[in-house]
């Protein structure tokens, strides 16, 4: 490749941070290129150095970082090549490039806009810096750009503050800000990682459309191979600061060479997995539960249904009392008439976007939230327990049966307790055995999750995210529960670690005969774990069916939209943006009429399609009408 044809060419880039007593090299000898008008994806796990590379391209590295090598940027407008690393930090030349010729969008749309300035102010600021234009011109151009990125009322949006917009809308505003000067290069740093899957599809589509329209090159930084397959022309894989593999997307996906890339691809759950097929984690964890306790003895006449949930309803009153008078209460139904059963030994998946009420359901089951109405019954064969009203000894007893694994492995472990304290605390609370017994038990738990017993006296901060999540799982297992509620247990973890945790959970389920309620927004993950899947939208379960059924024959428009929005790490199955738009997945108004409440206000009820397949629809609708074929 001739260097003249590359828009961005990184040669032998090394980046190091000065640490106490030495330098930490986070990027070593990296080479990559971005062709004009093309998309190069930079793929790697967190901590692999990919974000640092993107910062060095714009010259916005932290002060403690030092970069060596060459970053050559050739502006297609005048054909001049500049070595960005040679420009003075924050000097005039680099500032003239930033925002104007190269722009960046960030992962967190929540924090990357200032909450104190209006959207319009922040976007038009770019014009004020780089162009000679009057205030009116800037406003006009900003509104035009807001219109381009999909705001229906740009002049109103101009005067809104970021916190008044949803996450997806904020990311659109960020894109408008980045593209308003029509840069030659857009650096997108995990642009959709923090968004729901349907919103992610919309943003990806928008980026692609604009990229074509403006003939702009893009450096897309992501860990999601599905996004890469749908967006990239060329792929660069980075691992521990070193480029492992680079090439056109075809070559990379069809014929991966490097062991790391192969491993990464095998570690992502996807919909085509055969029943019983196992993910290959990059680092597998051996599970040894023999020391823990014997598999729960089958109670002779144990009922099939372990947990039965009926008509749960929880609404939150948000009193939007403005500072300046105007008070009005709005009632938000977080959970609205949710019913389901969890069978003994199965894994029930609960899927939904943020705000769909899935976490509220889990909190109700843990008695952390009191529902307005409904009932929850737990029955393991030794008598029914009313989960919502249990008091005193019954409640203590219940706590040993139902335990929870949390999403965030960092904040769910106390930083001031050692692993031993964390794991033995449940045993102490329930007065199990003496010190020696508890220590024995804790050792068994450590073994079960594949952690070395020497780590018992360490604090959580000395573990990686995956290890911490394993400790969280061990804590949940300490009392020998029968039902484990896993609330997004892997969504904070890297892909490679994700597979490890999922496999661990699967193994534990098999060996200990556990029952799971597995909550996630990631359909592929739920698909890997669950026997049956319930899809939640707006506080209601809109569809519930066995795993194979819901994936092959989804009936509800929301489920179908959700499935269509998942990007596959497979070049032959690109996201179909046109059907995605048509289905209008997350907007109730665009669903087919039989799935919407009618004008008379008749409540929707779950219609039985057979084989345990239920879908929320109008009462008087014929089952045949629901099937789209």
């Amino acid at each position: 490749m001739k260097s003249g044809s590359d828009l961005l060419r990184i040669e032998n880039l090394g980046i190091s941070f000065s640490m106490l007593g030495g330098r930490l090299h986070v990027v070593k000898g990296a080479n990559l290129r971005v062709l004009p008008g093309k998309v190069t994806a930079l793929v790697g796990e967190s901590g692999s150095g990919k974000s640092v590379i993107s910062q060095s391209v714009m010259g916005i590295l932290p002060n403690t970082a030092k970069a060596t090598g060459k970053i050559l940027f050739t502006d297609p407008l005048d054909g001049r090549t500049t070595d960005i690393l040679q420009l003075p930090t924050d000097g005039e030349q680099i500032r003239a490039l930033r925002g104007s010729r190269m722009a960046k969008i960030f992962q967190e749309p929540m924090t990357s806009l200032s909450p104190l300035h209006t959207v319009g102010n922040q976007i038009s600021e770019v014009l004020a810096i780089h162009t000679e234009s009057s205030k009116e011109e800037r406003r006009a151009r900003t509104e035009e750009m807001l219109d381009n990125v999909g705001f229906s009322n740009p002049s109103r949006t101009y005067d809104m503050y970021p916190f008044e917009l949803s996450g997806g809308m904020r990311q659109r505003a960020m894109i408008a800000m980045a593209l308003i000067c029509r840069p030659a290069l857009l650096i997108a740093d995990e642009p959709t990682t923090a968004l729901d899957v349907t919103i992610q599809a919309q943003i990806l589509e928008l980026l692609r459309e604009l990229q074509h329209k403006l003939n702009m090159a893009m450096l897309l930084i992501t860990h999601d191979l599905g996004v890469v397959a749908n967006m990239a022309d060329e792929v660069v894989v980075i691992y521990h600061g070193e480029i492992m593999e680079a090439g056109p997307v075809e070559a990379i996906f069809r014929n991966p060479q490097h062991a790391y890339l192969k491993g990464l691809m095998a570690a992502v759950p996807h919909f085509d997995m055969k029943p019983g097929e196992r993910l290959k984690a990059l680092r597998e964890v051996p599970v040894k539960t023999d020391t823990l306790w014997a598999k729960k003895k089958e109670v002779a006449n144990a009922p099939e249904i372990l947990l039965s949930v009926r008509d749960l309803t929880k609404s939150y009153k948000t009193r939007k009392s403005g500072l300046f008078g105007r008070k009005h209460t709005t009632e938000v139904r977080a959970v609205d008439g949710v019913s389901f059963d969890i069978r003994r030994g199965e894994c029930l998946g609960l899927v939904g976007e943020s705000g769909s009420g899935k976490t509220t359901v889990s909190k109700i089951l843990m008695r952390a939230v009191t529902p307005d109405s409904g009932s929850v019954t737990f029955d393991d064969g030794s008598g029914k327990i009313n989960v919502l009203t249990a008091q005193g000894d019954d409640l203590m007893d219940l706590r040993t049966h139902i335990q929870m694994v949390f999403q965030d492995p960092v904040s769910s472990l106390s930083p001031r307790m050692t692993v031993q304290n964390i794991l033995s605390e449940p045993l102490e609370i329930h007065g199990r055995g003496d010190r020696a017994y508890r220590l024995e038990k804790v050792r068994g738990l450590m073994q079960a999750i594949g952690l070395d017993q020497r780590f018992l006296n360490r604090y959580p901060h000395s573990f990686s995210g995956g290890q911490r999540q394993r400790i969280g799982i061990a804590r949940a297992l300490a009392l020998g529960p029968q039902l484990l509620i896993c609330d997004e247990p892997v969504s904070a973890l890297d892909v490679s670690v994700q597979a490890q945790i999922l496999n661990l959970l699967k193994d534990l389920q098999k060996q200990l005969g556990l029952t799971y309620l597995f909550i996630s927004h990631n359909l592929a993950v739920v698909d890997y774990m669950a026997d049956r899947i319930a899809v939640m939208w707006g506080g209601r379960i809109v569809e519930l069916a066995p795993r194979e059924v819901i994936l092959r024959n989804p009936v509800h428009p929301y489920t179908r939209g959700l499935l269509a929005a998942v990007p596959f790490p497979d070049l032959d199955r690109p996201l179909d943006f046109t059907t995605l738009q048509a289905s209008g997945a997350s907007e109730q108004g665009e669903w087919a009429p039989q799935f919407r409440p009618d004008e008379a206000g008749d409540p929707l009820i779950p219609a039985d399609l057979g084989d345990g397949h239920f879908v929320l629809a109008r009462k008087n609708v014929d089952v045949r009408e629901l099937r789209p074929w």
Binding site: L113, Q122, V126, S166, K320, L323, R326
Partner: protein, 333 residues
């Protein structure tokens, strides 16, 4: 809308101040005895004879023979129409005793606040943007010294050196010949020329504290993503600093106003005694010592009033500064 909010807040101040007044009255009633008792004790200690008849008469005149609840309402009622009671010590109405001192106190405090901000802001910004540089370390050392040295100590040191080097006394807020004189050009000049010493002394600790807080807040804000966004736009680093992180850091600063007002007025007492300033501080301490209850009570009420006003000001300013507070009621999306 904003007007309605302000009116509502002012209305809410009334019960607050009533409760405070009851507390203040209870506290100054708590020590055994009253002004007359302590004066009798003092006179007896000096060997003077005390006419019990006179004392009884005075007791009746000042209302000490009435139950405390009645006296409280009497005091409260008086304050409402500007009668703050009678100072036993000075044999004058409280308002006359306090008079000029009040304005001088407000002047000193106000100038001190401005001084604090003028010094603290640039230094805090420098320290935060040059974290762990020699400049940051040096200023941090200076700041810690400022916090660690008690104000009165600094006052004594300054007085000592001023005396040795310049042969002048730096006490008082004005030349003594202007004391109790009506305001004139000469007097104003004299006050201004004396003002800087107490301002520096009283302001040091506050400045140092504020530098530390501003630095910490700015450092937090500088880590935030939106700063990176602004830099990626090509904004000049200094403009970035002022427009985004500094603006965010202002929130803490504004909410501080509520506590700054009373802290500066009550915190400067010992310094004021050392420097014999004509402010209210020394008077308050003396009034508390001698159980000159109406004088002390009025002072305490004044401090409480300032606190409540300060909180009000900072709340209103916050609403102006931060759209998240102002628009909390506007429907989202």
């Amino acid at each position: 809308m904003l007007l309605k909010y302000i009116l509502w807040r002012i209305a809410a101040m009334i019960p607050t101040l009533l409760i405070i007044s009851a507390l203040v009255f209870t506290i100054i009633e708590l020590p055994p005895g009253n002004f007359l008792d302590s004066q009798i004790a003092e006179m007896q200690a000096q060997g003077e004879t005390v006419n019990l008849q006179d004392i009884e008469e005075l007791r009746h005149q000042y209302g000490f023979d009435q139950p405390p609840v009645l006296r409280y309402f009497h005091w409260l009622g008086g304050m409402l129409h500007g009668d703050f009671g009678y100072s036993f010590e000075y044999q004058l109405p409280v308002s006359e005793v306090v008079g000029e001192r009040m304005w001088l106190t407000i002047l000193v405090s106000f100038v001190t606040i401005i001084f604090t901000w003028l010094i603290a802001f640039p230094i805090g910004m420098y320290s935060a943007t040059h974290q762990y540089s020699w400049g940051d370390y040096g200023l941090t050392l200076f700041g810690l010294l400022g916090i660690a040295i008690p104000n009165f100590m600094l006052a004594l040191i300054l007085m000592y050196f001023a005396n040795i080097w310049f042969g002048t006394s730096i006490g008082h807020l004005m030349d003594q010949k202007f004391l109790n004189e009506p305001m004139s050009w000469e007097k104003a000049r004299s006050i201004l020329s004396h003002l800087w010493i107490p301002v520096i002394i009283v302001g040091t600790a506050g400045t140092a504290g504020m530098i530390r807080r501003l630095r910490a807040n700015l450092l937090d804000e500088l880590q935030k993503q939106y700063v990176m966004t602004a830099r990626a736009k090509g904004l000049h680093p200094f403009k970035t600093l002022v427009k985004y992180p500094l603006r965010m850091a202002l929130n803490f600063f504004v909410s501080d106003i509520g506590s700054i007002l009373p802290a500066i007025i009550s915190g400067a007492e010992i310094t004021a005694i050392v420097l014999s300033l004509e402010t209210t501080g020394p008077m308050l301490i003396k009034a508390l010592q001698s159980q000159d209850m109406y004088l002390a009570g009025s002072f305490l009420m004044f401090l409480a009033f300032l606190t409540v006003i300060g909180v009000l000001i900072s709340d209103i300013a916050l609403a102006f500064l931060d759209p998240r507070i102002r628009l909390a009621g506007r429907s989202t999306k």
